[in-house]
Every structure is written in C-alpha cells, then in structure tokens.
C-alpha cells in the first residue's frame, strides 16, 4: 500500500492527479479487499519490469557482446516468470542503441549464452549460484529477484526498502562480466558491493 502511494502519488499535498479521498479509498481497498495482496504483487513486478528496462539504459555491454549491429538485446527470465505480461508490455517496441529489446524465457543456464540480461526468479534460488557461475566472464547482466542473490554473486539484486523496490549492485561481478555500469545507476543503488566471483 505504501509502495503504491510512493509510485503513483507524489508526497506534495497540492498534487491534484488523484484527489485525497480517492487515495483513502484505495488504501482501504488495499487493506481489506481479498484481492489486495495480488494487486500488490502485480505492482511490485510492474516496477521491477520497468527497472529491468531501465537497467539496459544505464549499462553498457562490450562491443563484441552482440553478433551484429542490429542483433536483439535479449532479456531472459529463468525460473517461474513473476511478471506475466508486464515485462513484455514494458519493453514492447523499445530498443537500446539500435538493438531491439526481446523477452525470452529459459529453463537452464546453458540457454543463456545470447542473453544480455538474465532475470533469476526466486524459484531458481536454490541453484542460483550454479547459474551465476556458469555465466561468469560472459557479458550477461544477472539480476536476482531478492536480496538473497547478493550473496550468490548476482550483479544486481532487488530488495524492498520500506516497501519500495531498490537494488544493490555488485561492481566486482559486473567488471568480471565486462559490463560498464553508469555512475548514475550506482548513485541510485541502495548499496554497491565489490565482491568478485570466486
């Protein structure tokens, strides 16, 4: 509920996009309506989908990462897909430096060779370390769905801070993957660690 308010409603009292009573009604619904929890989940992954798209804009892949100049920038999802249609809708028609964004859902890390960004779902947490290590040295931005992935060596790991979606960055892992992460991205990260994969 608080997250929703942060996203959709500016803190300034004079913002008129939604009147106060509307917000109050929404809060009440979020608290007492049985479907409120599902909505919260949807909202979280809508934000995460947007974040995934935004990561592509603050991260530079090495020039040889692409097979050709117009090769697609593949965003791969391994494990259970928590986004539904959210991510597809977010990246639809988008491109990064001439590379059109595509979504591919994979089963195992061996399928992840052409991926530029690999979202590792919470369901893959038990074998996350294997997946991440299998991709070591390859220009793949690994993104973990929760804060546990920090310890697994994921380059980016989502976490919730006061109900808001934040992320940490493992700069050491990023350097190993020959990815250049914008200082601006580092600036908005919840924390930046330097723990290269062993």
């Amino acid at each position: 509920m608080a997250l929703r308010m942060k996203l959709a409603q500016p803190t300034r009292q004079h913002q008129p996009t939604r009147p106060a009573w509307h917000v109050a009604l929404f809060c009440w619904l979020a608290l007492y309506w049985p479907a409120a929890e599902a909505d919260q989940h949807n909202l979280e992954y809508r934000v995460k989908a947007a974040f995934l798209y935004n990561f592509t804009r603050f991260v530079e892949w090495p020039p040889n990462a692409y097979a050709s100049a117009d090769a697609p920038l593949e965003i791969c999802i391994i494990g259970n897909d928590p986004f539904g249609r959210q991510l597809d809708q977010t990246v639809e028609g988008k491109s990064s430096n001439g590379h059109p964004l595509t979504i591919r859902r994979i089963r195992q890390s061996s399928d992840a060779d052409s991926c530029k960004l690999l979202f590792i779902s919470t369901s893959e947490q038990p074998r996350a370390r294997d997946v991440i290590y299998a991709l070591r040295g390859k220009p793949v931005l690994t993104v973990g769905d929760n804060s546990d992935f920090i310890s697994h060596g994921a380059i980016v790991s989502f976490l919730l801070v006061d109900g808001k979606v934040r992320f940490t960055i493992n700069q050491g892992a990023a350097e190993q993957a020959r990815l250049t992460i914008s200082s601006k991205l580092l600036g908005v990260a919840h924390s930046v660690v330097r723990e290269p994969l062993q």
Partner: protein, 530 residues
C-alpha cells in the same frame, strides 16, 4: 523656442552648446548601445548558464527518475545550493506527452513559493525580477521528465544599475570635458571672430581704413581675416582716390567759377558795348535825318533866295530907271508884277520850309526822346515818310499807307518812327536793286485794344537761315558796306521792351518780306503814364 534662443545666442555660446550637445549625444548613444549590448549579452549568458546547470542537473537526475528515487533526485538538486540565484528547482516525471507529475523539489528556504503544479517556463527575459525555465530531461531519446527552475534576477538588475551609474558618471565627465573643450576651442574659433567683429565696428566708427585685423590661424577664419584686410585696403585706396578726385573737382569748380565770372564780366562789357552801339546807331540815323532835313529845306530856301535875288536885281534896275527918269509905265508895271510874283514865290517857299521844319522837328524830338504821348497814326506815318524822302527820292519805289484817318494811339512815337525808319532803310538797302521798281506797303488797323501794323515790301526776300537770325544783334549780310547788323535788333528790342508788343517776320526768296507788329493801343495805360 529653443531654436529661436539658439539663433540669438553668441557664437561662443553656440560653440559651447554644439560641443556639449555633440559629446552628450555621442556618450548617450554609446551608452545606449553599451547598455543594450550588455543587457542582451548578460541576459543570454544568464540563460545559457542556467541552461547548462539545468542540463547537468537533468542529466544527473535521469537514474533517480528512472529508478523512482526521489531522495537521490533531491540530493542532486541540493547541489544548486552553490548557486545562490536559484530559488527553486523542481523535477517532474513525464507520464506522457502532456501530463507531468511532481517528483522531487528543492527550495532555497521556506520564504519561496513551493513547486507549481503545472510548471511553465519563460520564453523571454525582459523586465521581470524572476527568470523561470522549464527543460525536458532526456534519457537517450526518451523524455523521462522535466526540470523547472526559478532564478532570481537581482544580480542582473544590479549589473544594469551599475552600468547606468557608470554611464551617468561618464556623461557628467564628458559634459565637463566638453565644456573645457568648448572653452579651449573658443581660442581658435569664436575669439578670432569676435576680434574681427570688434575691429569691423571700430573701422566703421572711426572710418580709419588703415586698421588691420591680426591673423591667428591659417584656417577658414584666417582666410576670412585676410580677405577682410584686403577689403579694408581696397576701401582705403578707394577712399583716397575719392578724396583726390574731390580735391581735383573743387579746383576745377573754382576755375570754372572764375571763368564764369570772367565770362559774366565780358558779357556785361559786351552788352554795354552793344548799348553804346545801339545809341550810336540811333545817333547815326538821327544824323541821316538831319541831313535829309537840310536837303529838303534847301530847295524852298533856294527858290526863295533866287526869287529874292531876282527881285533885288529888278528893284535895282527899276530904281536906276527911276533916277534916270527913264522908267516907263510899262516897265513899272512889269516890275510890280515881278515883285508881286517874287513875294508870292518867297512866301510860299518859306511857308514850305517852315512846314518842313515843323514836321522834322517833331520827328527829331520824338526820335531823340522816349516820350509817350497820344498821336494820330496816319499823319505820323506820313511825317516819317517825309523824313525819309531824301532816301526814297533816289529810288523808283512807291510807298502806300493804308490806315484809318482817325486812328489814334497812346504810345511812343519816337520808337515807332525808329522802327519804320529801320524797316524802310532795310528794304531800300537789301530788298531792291538800285533803280528797281517796287511798292512798300504799310497797313494799320485796330483790333480791340491792339494795333496790328503790317509792313511789307515786294523785294527779293530772304532765305530761311537769314529769317531765323534776322533779329540777332550784329547779324548782317553787308558788313563791309556799312551795315551794322543792329537795325532789326533795335526793331525787336523797341517792339518788345518799349512798346510792349510782339514782332514777327516772314520772308521767302523772291516773294518779298513781311513784318507784323502787334502793339497795345495804349488806351488803358493812359492813366498810368500821364
């Protein structure tokens, strides 16, 4: 009004006004240009600085906006604290092309108004105290948000005010410098002109053309002074020439006066001589008259003497005869008859002589005197003709007198006698050849109180140039043979002056000469004179 005042001001004032106005205008124009340029450049540099600051802030905010990190955005915005002119900065996320939503904000302090709901940026910076700008925040090609900034312009206005103060100082400075320059320029322009003007006045008052104006410079004023000096020199020369000409003229005038005086004396002498001549002529004609009279009287006297001597001879013869007693009766009778006849002859001739003397006496008295009297015209004309008989007798000329017997006038008979005598003598001398037959006609008639006397002859007449000069003194065609040239002049003078009448002469060659006299009959003047 201002122009009028300028028109009447002195040259130095005009000069001063010109210099001050020119420099003032120059400084003013330069200042306007300077302030305009500064205005524009300061404005654009402020806008440019703000734009670059906003670009940096926007660039640094992209990640915060992308990842919905308002706190990070606020930290980025707080960097603006280093720029004290920026009062307010707000970031809005772009929902779509038209709608924006407030995302994050920065306020210098609580005195400033919070971020507006819908931000709007200024297009131009003019007179406002606040510059507001709205700038899109782009990530790659997408516009992900907007940055709105309010910037105070007090520094801008302070600098403009500073420029204006500097301009006022510059204008005051240039004003004083212009006054100084004007004073300095007066030495070269207005002072020489004033000097020239005062010298002009001095020259015109003193009439001293030897004064010269000192030349100060070699410019137009110097040339003006040179020309003025040249002009003075020329005027001086002309003045001198004029004086000389005037002196010469005075000498000439005095010479002319002297000549005139001499001329007048000469003329006076001439007139005197002329009068003497006229008098002499009168005397001469009187002498002629006396000769005529003597000649005329000689005849009766001679006849009387002859008769008396015959009687005396006969008486002596008769007396002898009586003594001798030889006197016969018939002899005595013849003697008595002879004596009677002789006495008759002597008496008649003496009477004739007496008569002649009587009439001559009258004419002679009249001619020698200028007495005015009443007389009968016809008999008087006959008496005059009688006095002229010695001259006329030698010629075959015939004299006709047509006149009313009773016509009587009150005038100067002597003058009339002189006039007629001169006319007849002229006819005799000039109009007729010796022994030429001719008729001289005198007609007299009274018209009103005027008497018209026409004298005409049928002689050979005169050419026109003689007619026009006939009354001039000393005009004669016979100077060598005794003509004095005064006869007709005397006629003219007598008619005009003594008789108070007019005389005209008409003549043509071959047609004789005609002289018309119009003289007053004199009745009305009787009381005045007698």
């Amino acid at each position: 009004m201002i122009l009028h005042r300028f028109y009447h001001s002195s040259i130095s004032e005009k000069l001063m006004i010109s210099v001050v106005a020119t420099s003032g205008m120059a400084v003013l124009l330069a200042s306007i240009a300077f302030v305009g340029y500064q205005w524009n450049s300061t404005r654009s540099s402020i806008a440019q600085n703000l734009d670059s600051t906003m670009s940096i802030i926007g660039f640094n905010s992209t990640a915060a906006i992308s990842f919905n990190d308002a706190l990070a955005a606020e930290q980025t915005l707080s960097a603006l604290r280093a720029q004290p002119q920026i009062n307010l900065a707000c970031i809005y996320t772009a929902l779509d092309a038209d709608r924006t939503v407030y995302f994050s904000g920065y306020r210098r302090d609580a005195n400033y108004a919070p971020c507006p709901i819908q931000p709007k940026g200024d297009k131009l910076l003019l007179m406002s105290s606040l510059l507001t700008r709205l700038k899109p925040i782009s990530l790659h090609t997408d516009v992900i948000g907007f940055l709105y900034v309010e910037r105070a312009l007090d520094d801008f206005w302070r600098s403009i005010l500073g420029y204006l103060l500097a301009i006022i100082v510059a204008m005051l400075g240039s004003f004083f410098i212009a006054i100084g320059m004007g004073r300095f320029m007066q030495n070269f322009i207005s002072r020489p002109i004033l000097n020239l003007a005062s010298t002009t006045q001095e020259v015109s008052e003193s009439k001293d053309f030897s004064i010269r104006v000192a030349k100060g410079s070699d410019d137009e004023i110097g040339r003006l002074i040179d020309n003025f000096n040249d002009m003075l020199a020329q005027i001086g020369n002309r003045e001198q020439a004029l004086q000389e000409a005037r002196a010469e003229l005075e000498v000439r005038v005095s010479e002319t006066d002297k000549a005139n005086a001499e001329l007048k004396t000469t003329l006076e002498r001439l007139r005197h001589t002329q009068e003497q001549l006229v008098q002499t002529e009168k005397m001469a004609s009187l002498g002629g008259l006396v000769a005529g009279i003597a000649h005329e009287i000689n005849t009766p006297i001679g006849v009387g003497v002859t008769a008396a001597s015959t009687l005396m001879t006969k008486t002596a013869s008769v007396s002898e005869d009586y003594d001798a007693k030889s006197l016969t009766d018939s002899g005595l009778r013849r003697y008595i008859e002879l004596a009677s006849q002789s006495a008759q002859i002597i008496l008649s001739n003496l009477n004739r002589a007496s008569e002649l003397i009587q009439s001559f006496k009258q004419v002679a008295v009249d001619q020698s005197s200028s007495e005015r009297r009443r007389f009968q015209v016809k008999p008087y004309l006959h008496e005059i003709m009688l006095s002229l008989r010695p001259n006329l007798k030698k010629t075959p000329l015939h004299v006709e007198i047509e006149c009313d017997d009773r016509l009587e006038i009150n005038s100067y008979p002597g003058a009339l006698a002189q006039i007629i005598t001169n006319l007849v003598m002229n006819s005799l001398i000039h109009a007729y050849e010796p022994n030429q037959e001719g008729t001289i006609r005198i007609t007299v008639e009274q018209r009103g109180n005027k008497v018209h006397l026409r004298y005409s002859d049928d002689g050979k007449g005169m050419p026109p140039d003689h007619v026009t000069r006939v009354f001039d003194p000393f005009f004669t065609t016979k100077r060598g043979t005794g003509g004095s040239g005064l006869g007709m002049h005397i006629v003219f003078n007598l008619v005009n002056q003594q008789l108070g009448g007019t005389v005209t002469l008409q003549s043509e060659v071959g047609k004789g000469t005609q002289v018309d006299l119009v003289i007053p009959a004199g009745e009305e003047r009787k009381d005045e004179n007698h």
